[in-house]
Symmetry: C2
């Protein structure tokens, strides 16, 4: 089967861990052990989040007074290089030597007029107390928002419209390479005149693409990629075993096999489970194929339909 697997930010860095290189490497190694077993059986494209990492790079760039901090598209590209390298290496260490693992840097087109540029929602960087977050927001001009365990900086997260590196991914998949691509939701770029936001390439042509200061949701981007590649299954691997209704309430219950019509209209946590559910719905509705959401630790059971939330087409038996 051809699988597109999204690796949650928490699989790379737990919320309670400092974002050291050692911690990320240890987590990536653990993830690679699960992923290598799947890659041994299937054709696989891997994507990954970058929220904690891109936030850290932004803080480091701001801490150094010598040069103005790079825009988010450039910092995102840096995280893709880093995470892609570490993932590729750990996977390649576990797979047969003849199996190629390739990491591609992926640009993803977004609309310059996406309303997300006015309403930042994507959390990046560390979790702060409310007081810390408010102080930082005032000092640095950040937008901030609360989430489960505290407050975080939030940035614009426009909808992915087109995966620009699709052809190279498809060619490498034809050779059964394990492809790591679209890290951090892909690097957001817009078509047309230099935007007020972002690095602005200043390219001359009116239809030139240029970077824009944003972080695309990696689940929504992965869903788009899975549709464009005509994947058999979209796997959204995270640190919880399934999608829950009434999360945190006495009535909380995990969803097993479920159809789009049953999911639509339910409320899930913004910036967390909501985009995963939306990503799964979009894939299943567009393709009639299966999307699964669950724990990376049970990825083989997820694929076998034995664990996690299995989103199947409305027309499925």
């Amino acid at each position: 089967m051809k699988l597109v697997v999204a690796l949650g930010g928490n699989a790379l860095l737990r919320r309670d861990q400092p974002p050291t290189a050692e911690n990320q490497l240890a987590n990536i190694r653990r993830a690679a052990q699960q992923l290598a077993r799947v890659a041994a059986q299937h054709t696989v494209v891997l994507t990954h989040g970058n929220g904690p990492q891109v936030g850290l790079l932004a803080l480091q760039a701001e801490a150094y007074t010598g040069v103005e901090a790079y825009p988010l598209d450039v910092l995102g590209a840096q995280t893709d290089g880093m995470i892609g390298y570490l993932l590729e290496q750990e996977l390649a260490n576990l797979l047969p030597a003849a199996r190629v693992v390739a990491t591609l840097i992926t640009r993803v087109e977004v609309h310059a007029q996406d309303p997300a540029f006015q309403y930042p929602t994507k959390p990046i960087g560390p979790v702060y107390t409310q007081a810390e977050a408010e102080r930082l927001a005032a000092a640095k001009g950040w937008a901030i928002a609360p989430e489960r365990t505290g407050w975080r900086r939030v940035v614009a997260s426009p909808l992915p419209q087109r995966v620009l590196g699709l052809q190279a991914i498809a060619w490498l998949l034809e050779r059964n390479a394990v492809v790591i691509a679209a890290g951090g939701g892909g690097i957001p770029v817009v078509r047309g005149a230099p935007a007020a936001v972002g690095s602005g390439s200043g390219a001359e042509a009116a239809d030139a693409l240029q970077g824009v200061a944003a972080v695309i949701d990696k689940d929504l981007c992965t869903s788009l990629l899975a549709r464009e590649l005509q994947a058999d299954v979209l796997v959204i691997a995270t640190d919880v075993p399934a999608v829950y209704l009434d999360w945190g309430l006495p009535t909380q219950r995990a969803l097993g096999r479920v159809k789009p019509a049953e999911l639509a209209g339910q409320a899930f946590a913004a910036g967390s489970m909501a985009p995963k559910v939306a990503a799964a719905l979009a894939f299943v509705r567009a393709t009639g194929r299966r999307a699964v959401i669950g724990s990376l630790d049970h990825i083989e059971d997820l694929l076998a339909g034995q664990a996690g939330t299995q989103v199947v087409a409305d027309a499925a038996d």
Copy 2:
């Protein structure tokens, strides 16, 4: 023809420029205009340096006190993502829409026992006065060394032994994609037990690969890549028009067409022209084909044999 083109660090950032995103983007755009003309005519693999960029990331990481600075292999991977993204975008903006431009993250194996780990020579980051450099060396434990215009931090630069992502590059070239790869000389990795230096993946297998704190010379790595890909021409594009004998002396003269036997034994600037000459020699001796060293601004003339230093096989007419 199949070309492997190394883009010098100075083509991306001049020594007199602050390493802002704007400056790099403007330089990359200018470079892309030269490169796009060549890519329109030939099959092209592009590599690039990362000395200023990896040095800046190291400074930023040190300036932020929240997390210990990442090792050089990880920082190098970050620069590959960033520079690759910007180069890919500017090239793709200038090439026909159907032409695929793909950026791969490339690991390169080095020997864990390479003597370079004891004798750092590769300059990274900004140029300092001698007094500044000595103060920083004492404070941060850096090795430092003088070069043309001042002093810089120097790091270990082991010889590249094997390009690990070679197969993916070759597959994409078969489709005539423009491939950006082996940025910054590739990400240095070693085989075997965890090294004292570097990020150390801690992978279990005795023959596992893991990152190591170093920066490989991009010209030597590009030469290896060109040999392994059986390129027709190796192009080393820099900011001077040719290789010079007696550089800076009254007897200074540019070399035009030259054979390996004439170059061997001449002295060139370490960390600058010396690795370019060594890279060209290694390619020409191994393949009997041509290597050219000269200005990116004249790359079409370089290819036509009308400019730069043209290193041809000893057996050539």
